[in-house]
């Protein structure tokens, strides 16, 4: 789930690169169009072939610009829908965490500490953030692990991971059925 953040970033970089190329190519196209128009006003028989080629170049560039613009729009739409998916996953995760904390009957301060543990914050940092003694945090951790019936940090995390995979499998099976 978190690794899905990476594609969003790289996709955004791709979109930005595409935008730069589109703008540059569009300005090139306009340069050629302007050149063709100026040349047409000159009206010299000898340069007709040259003019035709220039017109073709301009046409090709314009076609490229329009095509790339459509591509860019599709890319941006895809990034947006990916972000929506991420947000949904995030929302579900928050619900899931809440659900388990309720089930375990954690006190409000234990909930705070448990969430920080899930976020990977060290005990000392938790104590500092909450303005309590490290010993207090350790005691709270022990209570949380006991209520959740796990051995420690990594097992507490795996409770949620397991749920995430299980839900994924359920959806997969539902789709297959």
């Amino acid at each position: 789930m978190f690794s899905r953040l990476m594609p969003v970033l790289t996709q955004e970089r791709r979109a930005a690169t595409l935008a730069v190329i589109i703008l540059f190519q569009a300005l090139c196209a306009l340069f050629f169009i302007g050149d063709v128009i100026v040349d047409l006003q000159g009206g010299d028989g000898l340069v007709e072939l040259h003019l035709a080629i220039e017109a073709c170049v301009a046409l090709g560039l314009v076609a490229g610009v329009v095509f790339l613009m459509v591509e860019l729009r599709i890319l941006i739409q895809r990034v947006a829908s990916m972000e929506t998916g991420l947000r949904a996953a995030r929302g579900e995760m928050a619900q899931l965490v809440d659900h388990f904390f309720d089930q375990w009957g954690l006190t409000p301060s234990e909930r705070d500490v448990a969430l920080m543990i899930l976020k990977g914050i060290e005990n000392d940092a938790i104590a500092e953030m909450r303005g309590t003694a490290p010993g207090t945090v350790r005691a709270q951790c022990a209570k949380i692990y006991a209520k959740a019936q796990v051995d420690g940090r990594s097992q507490l995390l795996s409770v949620f991971l397991e749920e995430l995979f299980a839900q994924g499998m359920e959806q997969f099976e539902k789709a297959a059925a």
């Binding site: 953040l5 703008l23 300005l27 941006i76 991420l86 928050a94 809440d98 909930r111 705070d112 976020k119």
Partner: protein
């Protein structure tokens, strides 16, 4: 992990998320919405830069002044094309040039309306079209001055000067409008034009 962090940091961590919010996907605290795509931003700042260069730094008679002007004209042309086939907030349909809507918006603001517009607000939309048209007029009159037919004609030059004055006035009004609407709607608009995202404060109605 960053995704979880951004949602809860700044509030007391571990506090129960506001009930209702996650299920409905409704108003979240300070949502960020991707609005301006990279092409819109690139064109906006390039146009701003070319206006700055030509108004302050280039010699009016120089070839450089001419070419910067043509680039500005090209930027507007590309933006117009993007307004037809671009992303949703960039399209003309997202911000139609409507004085009636602008007037309605003014009265709504006077009554204390603080709603957020994801594209341009109706007043901002008018300013956008105004600036594009003015740049186009500047480019056209600027080009005319280089042609044999119109060379040395006073009215063309006067028109170019007048358009320039109007552009400077418009830019000043545009910047003032941006700061005013940042204050009114609570959305940092300059930042939105830099990273493309509008940060909509909690509980603001969005149009």
């Amino acid at each position: 992990m960053t995704s979880l962090d951004t949602q809860t940091s700044g509030r007391h961590p571990g506090a129960r998320p506001e009930t209702g919010a996650p299920e409905t996907g409704g108003p979240e605290p300070a949502r960020t919405v991707p609005v301006w795509d990279p092409l819109v931003r690139l064109i906006h700042w390039s146009l701003a830069l070319s206006i700055l260069i030509n108004s302050a730094f280039t010699d009016e008679e120089s070839r450089l002044h001419e070419w910067v002007g043509y680039v500005a004209l090209g930027l507007v042309a590309v933006r117009l094309l993007w307004g037809l086939i671009g992303t949703k907030p960039a399209r003309f349909t997202a911000f139609p040039p409507s004085p009636a809507r602008a007037l309605h918006h003014v009265f709504a603001m006077l009554k204390g309306d603080r709603s957020v517009h994801l594209s341009h607000n109706p007043l901002g939309a008018l300013m956008v079209y105004n600036i594009w048209a003015t740049v186009a007029a500047l480019g056209a009159t600027g080009y005319m001055m280089t042609t044999v037919t119109f060379f040395g004609m006073e009215w063309v030059e006067e028109l170019h000067e007048a358009a320039f004055g109007w552009l400077m006035f418009s830019v000043a009004l545009h910047v003032a409008g941006v700061f005013f609407d940042t204050w009114r709607s609570g959305v940092p608009l300059v930042r939105a034009m830099i990273d493309g995202r509008k940060r909509v404060p909690e509980g603001r109605p969005v149009e």
